[in-house]
Subunit: 403 residues, 3 copies
């Protein structure tokens, strides 16, 4: 049954890859849509290969999983043989394949976060090389500190489904990239922010709904056990809380943009829902529904304030991934002790900072190396003309005239 | 296992929210797409909060679920504590969280139906306030008459998954709104109907497929039990019948529009599939596959005739929600006695009318109050320019020139 | 539990219908999008009815399923009565309804493959009549040779989830149609291939992700048993291998298009992922993850070479369905003996050719009859103006000006 939970959870999280692709394709301008779609399907594919080749065994080193043994860390993931021996056939057995499948989806999610922030100006191949490093090494190393039984878990850090380990980590890698890459041309002029509206809000909304759906797998599957009725009941609690936090984040952004700008801002509402989801991810089991509501709502509020704040700092985050994943991820991690016994604010902050600093510094180094060796950014002409024609020679909407 | 059924069913029905959003965004004109998307994500979020705050306990009043007790009806939903005690750990145990999660999705669906009919002319906030009342009070009260063990269930009324309780109820609320709101400007001129074609039929088709998929959760989960192999086998029957009814409704509309108009009409085919689904929803378990076929096919036929009929009455239903959900919902409710023993046509009609009158009258009063206090309709200028620029200041497709 | 596997697998495969619809709608030009959407929802609906009326019992003839008995083959599918008797209530019981539901989705998939190849020039009704024959007769007959316990299965042919029986069969039916129909006007001029770029690559990418997700049901459900922990563990292996093959196909096409054309081609990457999926479908259980990787990667390579090869032969396949489903299907079938004991290359080739020749010849005859009786192809004027206005009178994107 735990295997089944991993499989259902895993296909739901896999679906989040489509959600990120649609969200990002909807929020970039139409001249960059093909490139954004290509990055999303490519990063998901690369993650699948790198996490198999290196990541999974780096994250959960275990003798019995190693085959083609090259050293304690660099064993390639191997599955158990077909046909389970009777000794293992208990209801809470989790097969290696299902565990690998489920954990891989978290690794891919981390990479998806990065692609949104850096859209519309980064070259395809340096980005994909960064994905190789992120999914093969950076994510597995930091995640092993907690989920691999490392020092953070021994210290008492608590991050149920990855507000810090997945979302904030993706956000830190994106932040490092955004600083190295710089903002899009013409985005900040004379202290003013020039809006670059997304080309297809229907796609962006679809992407958000997909992510919302996939999150039930993300948080629910992280129960990591489904052998008993009690486990499944806990998964139910997680579903209800996850949904509540998303709803609260969305409503908070809805009301706040109406109050602050006199007009509701759909992209803020979408990001508010996502921020609510990120906020509850560190502790979706223990809060009451009211707890999920206020934790998620604060996530929504964070987004409305953090997006313009980043723009003030001239950090150009095309889809708002840093507010949603990094800042709301911090909030979610911090909020755990309100409902989960045996956790402390100090430990939560230490855990968040440790992972943040590690991911940020290593990512920064990787981005700088990539910049030095092959250049990160397309030429000015290419950026103005759009990456689709210049990088790929293929438009996403070739027949729709530009207004 | 029942908990698991609720969770799987629930995430499928949650996905229907995305289906409604895409269907409606595809069927409105592009100048109103952002507004329609905003309404859909906002109504789903509001439903989640209102159904928790009021609705669930209003619908299923039960001592043991009450916490923060304010009176027999207004208790806020509370979950059981984490960790199930052994006494409850049977295979057919359904946790409160999973039940709440599943039932919430039905409540949200009711609200989704309303947004389509009233599109392209209603203001955002009065609509959202109506959603507050509908999801917090109107739906839970009428649904409790049947599913809360109220007088309709005692009378022998039968509505397995909600042809009347969800779909027709949503349709009646929409009808009341359409009457108060009036048709879109320029829609009916000199006794002629001016077609306002949907802006994106690919999205509308995607939305229909999403709804079709989600309906397996809607009808299958309504078995409400999965503790035995027999229960799961019944869920299988429901899946097969649900699919058959949708297919039959689609094919009926396909053939009928070819015969009547010499050209197949895709939007009719989509609505035919949906009407087939609504038609089987009152009784998806008992019919044979042939039963599901003819019940669904009549649903498809109903749509093809009802859409022009509504236009004759100058009731402007942007997406065809009243034919699909109200009229096919009536048909589905009426058809139950053909296959389900112990039901009668008279009881079905009484049940349908009771719920219809209640929802229609209360909705009418709410719409009229909202009209009096804050106005329901945008200005003529705003309607002509589109709600996206005037209400939200944000276009869905800013770069696609208008043809 | 096997019933449950069929239901979960079935709804995932049902979702592939939406995937094909989006993929094909994204890859045709905007003037043919409505027609393509109509074909997809209609073929899925027709398959549901024909597979019930004829196909299922033709494929799995069994006394106990027959009702309305007209002969050994033409019995209409009937479900068991509601309420399972205790004798059958074992965990590995698979109900007729769930089996029918699951197998139906494979039948519908076969038809979906055909619609893509023949897009942009075939009339609606002859295509739908072909679907009637394909889903009622051709597919059930050839599939019964293997899955109905026929001579291929007795011979030792191995096709776990249908690389040959579903994918190549669909590809052969499409190939026959493409030969009878001829290429689109102006596609091949003076030995040069004129590119007709797809109108909406975001939709095409969404469709690919949907198919990727649905494939977990396609391959995983084909385990056909979930009564034991060992079975579920095998399903986990299948999920992991399926995902790996898709990722490898995608990365192979990514790298190869960069190397060969100096620019990554998104549609090739999408088709590469799909070809990887088709390649692993004949044997998703037995390979190691490394096996899935190289089998899938070769699938991706096949697509990159086969697409221009077909164009050289002036076989006009609008979405690349023949390379993806037929040619990669051959590769997948051929690759089975590398990992599955008791299979042989010779038997695999015999099986593939038997099914290929049968489907191709029968399809060819049907296409020629349809051509003779009612004509297959729209007029030249209609093809140039687009099928949406001429065949259906309804544009998919009426407001987006043509660039």
């Amino acid at each position: 049954m735990t295997t089944l939970l991993f499989l259902i959870g895993g296909f739901l999280v896999m679906w989040m890859a489509a959600g990120f692709a649609m969200l990002e394709a909807g929020l970039v301008r139409s001249k960059n849509v093909t490139t954004q779609l290509t990055k999303n399907i490519a990063l998901f594919s690369i993650a699948a290969i790198m996490y198999w080749l290196v990541g999974f065994n780096l994250m959960y080193p275990a003798e019995w999983m190693m085959e083609g043994y090259l050293g304690p860390f660099f064993a390639i993931t191997a599955l158990e043989p077909v046909g389970l021996d009777a000794a293992n056939a208990s209801l809470d057995y989790a097969s290696v394949a299902s565990d690998f499948f489920f954990q891989l989806m978290f690794c891919a999610t981390t990479a998806s976060i990065v692609s949104g922030t850096l859209a519309e100006r980064i070259k395809l191949w340096p980005f994909l090389i960064f994905v190789v490093v992120l999914t093969g090494f950076i994510y597995p190393i930091e995640a092993s500190w907690q989920w691999g039984g490392g020092w953070l878990s021994e210290m008492g850090f608590s991050d149920f489904a990855g507000s810090t380990l997945v979302h904030a980590a993706g956000g830190f890698a994106a932040l490092a990239g955004a600083l190295v890459l710089g903002p899009r041309l013409g985005r900040y002029v004379d202290g003013r922010v020039v809006p670059y509206p997304g080309s297809n809000l229907a796609l962006a909304t679809l992407g958000t709904f997909i992510l919302w759906l996939g999150w039930f797998g993300f948080n629910g599957g992280s129960q990591l056990a489904a052998g008993t009725v009690g486990d499944i009941t806990d998964v139910g609690r997680i579903f209800a809380n996850t949904n509540m936090a998303a709803a609260a984040g969305s409503v908070a952004a809805l009301i706040l943009t109406q109050v602050m700008y006199r007009k509701v801002d759909l992209t803020m509402v979408l990001n508010g829902a996502l921020a609510g989801l990120v906020s509850i991810t560190a502790g979706p089991l223990d809060p009451t529904l009211f707890g999920a509501l206020w934790i998620g709502a604060i996530g929504g509020v964070i987004v409305v304030f953090a997006v313009p704040m980043l723009d003030k700092l001239k950090i150009d985050d095309v889809v708002g991934a840093i507010p949603v994943h990094l800042i709301a991820g911090f909030w979610g991690t911090l909020a755990v002790p309100f409902y989960t016994e045996g956790t402390s604010f100090v430990t939560q902050i230490i855990g968040f900072l440790s992972i943040g600093i590690f991911v940020f510094v290593v990512s920064l180094v990787v981005w700088l190396i990539l910049k030095g060796f092959m250049g990160l950014r397309v030429s000015e002409e290419a950026e103005l003309a759009g990456l689709d024609t210049t990088e790929l020679g293929m438009e996403a909407y070739p027949e729709f005239a530009k207004g």
